[in-house]
Symmetry: C2
Subunit: 322 residues, 2 copies
Amino acid sequence: MTSEFEIIKRYFSDSSGDAVLGVGDDGAIINIDSSREMVVTMDTLVCDRHFTKDADPASIGFKSLAVNLSDLAAMGARPRHILLSITLPSVHEAWISRFRDGVKLLLDRYSVGLVGGDTTKGSTLSISVTAIGDVVTGTAIRRDKMSIGDDLWVSGIVGLGAIGLLVERELLDVDPTVKRDFLDRLHRPMPRVELGQALSGVASAAIDVSDGLVADALHLANSSEIALEIEFDKIPVHHTLSTKKYEAVVQDCILGGGDDYELLFSAPREMSRAIQNIATQCDLALTRIGKAVPGRGVTILDQGISLTRDFKKGFDHFDKCD
Amino acid sequence: MTSEFEIIKRYFSDSSGDAVLGVGDDGAIINIDSSREMVVTMDTLVCDRHFTKDADPASIGFKSLAVNLSDLAAMGARPRHILLSITLPSVHEAWISRFRDGVKLLLDRYSVGLVGGDTTKGSTLSISVTAIGDVVTGTAIRRDKMSIGDDLWVSGIVGLGAIGLLVERELLDVDPTVKRDFLDRLHRPMPRVELGQALSGVASAAIDVSDGLVADALHLANSSEIALEIEFDKIPVHHTLSTKKYEAVVQDCILGGGDDYELLFSAPREMSRAIQNIATQCDLALTRIGKAVPGRGVTILDQGISLTRDFKKGFDHFDKCD
């Protein structure tokens, strides 16, 4: 998110009405009744920004849902319904059919209903999705509840979305046996829906890694008004990448890449065993990579020494704005 | 809605999950608890399709909300929250500020919270809004509950949005004292939120007039699997337009124009007095213009003779696709 797009958020930040939590987290929390709250989120993917014109329509459909379900996951919510609005220059039935197949993979996997939306003719292909989920009242995981002393955890392996993009653009050579995996991580990221729900009541704060590990850690730290220290050598790295050959670019991808949709979350130390049990239950690595400390900002420690590179700046070639 | 865009609806019509009512009405109905249901709707406005590049940003903001609140009104729902996603080529703070002012006019008027959304950079200005409302369980007004013998009613005056467009394009000269009114009807249509809620329990079916009176009457008739007869001379016409001078073009605008956001609804004859009371309460003309009869389709009767012109075709110059 560049600063100019932050302007827009500022203009709309005072209009949340009676919502429990409005603009500024992965999703908004709306009171339903005494026992449940609704969590809602909305994301737009635009051609030439989030995917290329010739991308597989099934992957576009899949990812349009995935990024929204990931926001619900980061709040610990159970996904229930989505609305989908497509703007497209012309209608090709084969394209629509493939797109639908990608959408349905996630609808079916999580028993989510597509209940409405819109179709509009426009010069640029664009997809907006609103995802609606629910939680037991008071159990949504927010960004602003992290405390000093909490551990910082990450699910799976981050950086693979960015590496997938480099592989696709032929800017990075990787082991051919895992090339497909990296591309899949870019085009069909699996939202951590089960993990998010399991972390409700366990994690003190959470966010999905969409902007990049450092950028999203900073969102958590700023929302909770404390600082985070991340130990670089604790961050899990894909086994085919952990060699000197790739060191600089992999470091950039891990710390600044984004588009991973893993969950970054904090929890009190006494939750460590519960978190390991959740890792087993979800069949997903959960790794402690740092801790919340007094102060502001995010520090990356490499062998105890602070890395001071600007990881956002390093990724300008991704042309990311949000 | 052209037939090719109907294709998309067909592809997604079997995925509503456990919603009470899914794709195909003005909004979807989702069960909340035993006493309330949620009504959700999502519409996208795209530059050069729904507004021009140099349109007043406040009007774009206003209309983005209005079309969605109008869908909630057509379901009899009380609007509660919206999510708003803006895609724009670049950020100009003055533009955003004006846009926000237009959005806030309707947020404030109906005490609606803006709880989330997205901002994305993209080559075409586009706005998607999701509106969330609620109703007492079972009281949402649907399109498919009209019965033979029901009267057909319309609120206010239809055709003014289309006339506003002709005036803006300098294709029609109107009384200078009402020119501004017609342009306002096009750019800042007032959603019939109070009327929609008042009609809950009174109207048997309802839709908002967005595609055009005949087209939307046909949506009602098809959803309820019966026919509608509309008496042309019962349809209210703006007092400055009811002259021979304008006859043909006004007829086209009234029957085929769309973009009015008045409510078209049916009700049993015994509700007539209740409807007149609602008209007084909402300070809005409600006019009985026809009735539901056996059969299929919509017939426009002029002095008892059926008009057979294709009103959709007549409006191809509006370049409408949805």
